[in-house]
């Protein structure tokens, strides 16, 4: 007694048909253009032999506009679960060889079923987007499919990490699914993302533009901020995804993959002292500080090309996964502006959701002054940072390196905004505003009455600076935990993180706060 061999043969054929997607000719054409197929991408993503496919034999059920009987293997998307670094991750990969990867009802159902599964099993979702958009033959059913995908994206947001790779066209409504996820990796070549393309823009507004200007990875990484990472090619996109997952927990009730060292090293790092310029006006390259602070100079910068006046990213410090938020004095003097506030606030909230401690490195002279900033809503945007920090309950450690002025200092996680520990270097200047501005208000009359007002102002400034251009005034008021030398920072921060890791903080129950969007 054994199973009828014809049945097995049929299964083998069915599998082969599904795995060939749009067929050998289309696959060969992709390879000629240097592009990978949907399945090849998943093979590179997952450890060999770990991929378990969902819905391999799915087909569309559309009969309109010549669709009846038309073969659409997998309905244009490959979905399933595989392993990355020994942990399961759910992934979908749109198959451009099958009807241009267009989204129909079954295609959307496969994506939604996968997301539902990932949410319940508590594993991250990675989506590889390569689709011509809605399958027009299916009409409002494909539109509804997008709606269902968006809804699932939102349900999963804050439950499991969601990462998108843009590996082809991603136009119109399709762009909103990746936009709802936590991180977007976009390929520099063969990938476009936009709502209205150049032709539509020209027809409706007369503006002449190019795809490069509105839809390229470079534009989204540097100007719009839609994209967090730019990949040079397909393999690079997968490498970035692997690196990113190496810092993330599988879900919001797990801890990130800490690899704590057995014994904390508290040795001094004299090189850190050498990075501090003696001239307080000389810009400090905060990335050099970060590379010395983190394990093996291994820092995954998020939004590297966007709002460079603030630096955010993931690292480990003596094995503990940490999110860093740091002012970059080399760019726009390290001021906070609209884009920097948006960038940092989103990163802070991501870390809080996924239990990743926050380390804030402060050298901020203030919010960026300017008409464009005020009219653009720096109040509304800057408030996001205040909101994000205050609302975060993960361990929050702050190091004040130099300037910590006014509202911008509060926005960089001062003790008042809930920092668990605040350390200051001897170069720290903590003040409500800069000396020159302050004395013009404090000593307005005295300066006006002086014989030499400029000299008087300079004297008052020096006096003010003496008082506030050091961390001792703030330390005397118990506003900071300790004053440390830069060389101690790595050891002290590691110890602070280790001590604070078990932090639990309960807040009043509510649906959600109302962050100023």
């Amino acid at each position: 007694m054994t199973i009828d061999p014809a049945l097995l043969k049929r299964l083998v054929t069915a599998r082969k048909t599904a795995e060939l997607g749009g067929g050998e000719d289309k696959i060969a054409k992709r390879h000629e253009r240097g592009l990978l197929t949907a399945r090849e991408r998943l093979n590179k993503l997952f450890e060999p032999g770990t991929f378990m496919e969902f819905g391999k034999h799915a087909q569309h059920d559309s009969t309109q506009f010549g669709m009846a009987g038309k073969l659409m293997p997998g309905d244009g998307v490959v979905t399933g679960v595989g392993y990355i670094d020994g942990r399961p991750v759910a992934a979908f990969s749109q198959d451009f060889t099958v009807g241009g990867g267009a989204l129909g009802r079954i295609h959307a159902k496969k994506m939604c079923d996968l997301m539902e599964y990932a949410s319940q099993a508590g594993m991250p979702v990675l989506g590889i987007n390569d689709s011509g958009g809605a399958r027009i033959q299916e009409g409002e059913e494909s539109l509804s499919g997008y709606g269902q995908v968006f809804f699932k994206n939102v349900l999963l947001s804050g439950v499991v990490p969601q990462v998108s790779i843009i590996a082809g066209p991603c136009a119109g409504g399709a762009a909103y699914s990746p936009a709802l996820t936590d991180f977007i990796i976009m390929n520099r070549k063969n990938a476009q993302m936009f709502i209205c393309g150049p032709e539509v823009i020209k027809a409706s507004t007369g503006q002449v533009t190019t795809m490069e200007e509105i839809g390229s990875a470079e534009t989204h990484a540097a100007i719009s901020g839609n994209v967090h990472f730019v990949a040079e090619d397909e393999e690079h996109a997968i490498e970035i995804a692997h690196k990113l997952f190496s810092f993330l927990p599988s879900n919001n009730v797990s801890d990130p993959p800490h690899e704590p060292v057995e014994n904390l090293v508290l040795d001094l790092d004299p090189g850190m002292n050498d990075l501090m310029p003696q001239d307080p006006k000389a810009p400090l390259d905060v990335k050099k500080i970060i590379y010395r602070l983190v394990d093996d100079a291994d820092f995954l910068e998020v939004h590297e090309h966007f709002a460079k006046n603030i630096v955010v990213g993931f690292c480990r410090i003596q094995g503990l996964v940490t999110g860093i938020v740091a002012n970059q004095p080399c760019v726009k003097a390290g001021t906070l502006d609209i884009d920097a506030s948006d960038k940092a606030a989103r990163f802070i909230r991501f870390c809080n959701i996924f239990n990743i401690p926050l380390l804030t490195l402060v050298d901020v002279p203030g919010f960026l002054p300017g008409v464009a900033q005020e009219r653009g809503g720096i109040i509304r945007h800057g408030a996001k940072m205040l909101f994000a920090y205050a609302a975060s309950t993960v361990p929050k450690i702050t190091v004040i390196m130099r300037k910590a002025y006014g509202g911008a200092y509060l926005a960089m996680c001062s003790s008042d905004m809930g920092a668990d520990m605040v350390f200051a270097w001897p170069t720290a200047e903590i003040a409500v505003m800069g000396a020159d501005g302050a004395v013009k208000i404090l000593y307005k009359r005295e300066i006006a009455a002086a014989e030499d007002p400029e000299k008087a102002a300079a004297e008052f400034s020096a006096e003010y600076r003496e008082k506030f251009a050091s961390p001792y005034a703030a330390a005397a008021k118990a506003m900071i935990t300790d004053i440390i030398e830069p060389a101690q920072t790595r050891g002290i921060v590691a110890m602070a993180l280790r001590n604070t890791l078990s932090k639990r903080e309960t807040r009043p129950p509510k649906k959600h706060g109302n962050i100023p969007l």
Binding site: A333, I338, G366, L368, G370
Partner: protein
């Protein structure tokens, strides 16, 4: 109110003119200005290259409003991408300005001591 006398076609008019505040400037997009990446390579796995310079990179502008501390090149100087060409002081901090492309200095527009706006032209390369 200011009183002015205007003559049109030989006929003289006395008029009173009220001087208003400068008109509100048009809303400006907060497009971040590009500045050259002068940092160590980043640990994004295999990060390979910085984005190519923006169009019009031969005009070097100030990324923020401030005072010109120094212009570090003169007309005719050859500059390489990444060379420091000027220093701006703003927000109690010096900001170094770097060339984004190779070229030679065609025109020095700003001088030490000048106040520049965000996006204000400092130097033109050819």
């Amino acid at each position: 109110m200011k009183k002015l006398r205007i003559t049109v076609d030989g006929k003289t008019y006395d008029v009173a003119v009220e001087v208003l505040e400068a008109a509100a400037p048009a809303a400006t997009a907060s497009t971040p200005a590009r500045s050259a990446a002068a940092f160590a390579p980043i640990a994004v796995p295999g990060a390979r290259s910085a984005p190519p310079p923006a169009a019009g990179a031969n005009t070097i502008t100030s990324p923020l409003a401030g005072k010109v501390v120094s212009i570090d090149v003169a007309v005719g100087d050859a500059v390489k991408s990444g060379d420091q060409v000027a220093t701006i002081e703003a927000m109690k901090m010096n900001t170094f300005i770097y060339a984004e492309i190779d070229g030679s200095v065609d025109q020095v527009v700003a001088a030490a001591g000048d106040m520049v706006e965000e996006g204000g032209v400092l130097i033109k390369l050819d």
